[in-house]
Homo-oligomer: 198 residues x 2
C-alpha cells in the first residue's frame, strides 16, 4: 500500500491538479450520505478507486478534508455577516443575513448535515474563528426581538433553513426553494414580507 | 478481554438490571458530544469503566443501542401524530403536532443531533416504520398551506425546532424554551398565536 506500483494501478491519476477538487466533491457526497464521523478516508479512496496513500498526498486527515469543504462556505458566510452588519436597522440587517444564509444553504446541500453535527462543531471550534462567526450571525437575527425569545427564533431559523436545504427539498427548483426558505424565515423572525411581484 | 476476570475488575456490575439504562444514558451523552457515527461501543465501555464484552451482554451493535435510544421517542411521536390526525381542521392538527414535537425535542436533547444525521436516518429507515411516520408528521404541518410552500415551511419548522433544542438553548428554562419554540413554529406555519395569559 502506498508504493508507486499501487498508485499506478489506480483508475485516475491522483497527482493531477483537479484531484484535490474531486476528493472534496466525493467527501461532500459521502458526508451527506453517512455524516462526517461516518465517512473515513478509506471510504473516499474506495469511492474514487484510489489508494489511501494517494489521498494522503492531498489530505493527511479527515479533519483537513472537512476544513477544505467548510472553509469556502465559512468565508462566504463571513462576507454576508460583514455586509449585514453595515446596514442600518435591526430588521434590514436580519433580512440581509437571512437571505445570505439561505443562499449558502441552498447552494451547499452539505450545510444541512454539517450544521447540526456535534463532531463538526467541535472540530471547527478548535481550529477556526467559528464560534465568533456563529455568535455574530445569531446576534444579527436575534436583535430583531432582543432577549431569549429572539434568541430562540434565531436558532430555529438557522437550524431550520440549514436542515430544509437537505434531501427533503431535493425535488424543488433551487430558486423556488430559496424563495420559500426566506419567506418562512421572515415569518418566524417577524420581519416584513415584501409583496409578491406578480 | 471479555473474560470473567476482566468483568470482575469493572467498577460497576455490568449484569445489574439498571446497567441497560445506564448504557442508554451514556450513549445519549456521547451521541450529543460526538454524533452517532462518532460514538463507538468502545467509547461507551470506556466511559463506564466496562469491558466491551460487558456492553455486548446488553447490545451487540451500536445500531441496537441507537434503536433503544430512539424507540421510546418514536413511540411518543407516533402517539402525538395519531392524536393530531383525529382533530378537525388543518390548523388544529398542525398546532397539536407542533406542540407535541416541541415537547419531545425539549425533553430529549438527543433529538437535536439525531434528527439531522444521515447515518441515523439511513439506519432507522432500514429497520423501522420511520419513513411513514415522518411523512405523516410532515403532512400534518404542510396541510396548512398545501403545495411546495407548505412543505418547505413544515421542513423548516421540524428541523428548526429539533435543532433549537440543542446546546444553544441549554441556558433557558425548559418551559420557557418550549413556549418560544411553539410560538416561533406557529409564526412560521401561519397558525393563530393565542393571546398571552398575563
Amino acid at each position: 500500500m502506498g508504493s508507486p506500483a499501487a498508485d499506478a494501478e489506480a483508475p485516475a491519476d491522483p497527482a493531477r491538479p483537479d484531484t484535490r477538487q474531486r476528493l472534496i466533491d466525493v467527501a461532500v457526497e459521502l458526508f451527506i450520505r453517512h455524516s462526517f464521523a461516518g465517512t473515513s478516508l478509506q471510504m473516499i479512496a474506495d469511492e474514487l478507486g484510489f489508494t489511501k496513500a494517494a489521498i494522503y498526498h492531498h489530505f493527511r486527515t479527515r479533519e483537513q478534508l472537512l476544513d477544505a469543504v467548510v472553509g469556502p462556505i465559512l468565508d462566504r458566510l463571513e462576507t454576508a455577516i460583514v455586509e449585514a452588519e453595515q446596514l442600518r436597522g435591526a430588521h434590514a440587517r436580519a433580512d440581509y443575513l437571512l437571505t445570505g444564509f439561505a443562499e449558502l444553504a441552498v447552494q451547499n446541500r452539505v450545510v444541512a448535515v454539517l450544521a447540526a453535527d456535534p463532531a463538526v462543531a467541535k472540530m471547527l471550534r478548535a481550529s477556526r474563528k467559528w464560534d465568533a462567526l456563529i455568535e455574530r450571525q445569531m446576534a444579527l437575527l436575534a436583535d430583531v426581538d432582543p432577549g431569549p425569545a429572539g434568541m430562540v427564533k434565531a436558532t430555529v431559523v438557522l437550524a431550520g433553513v440549514a436542515g430544509a436545504s437537505g434531501p427533503m427539498a431535493a425535488a424543488l427548483d433551487r430558486d423556488e426553494l430559496l424563495g420559500y426558505l426566506i419567506d418562512t424565515g421572515r415569518r418566524a423572525l417577524g420581519l416584513r414580507i415584501p409583496r409578491a411581484k406578480h
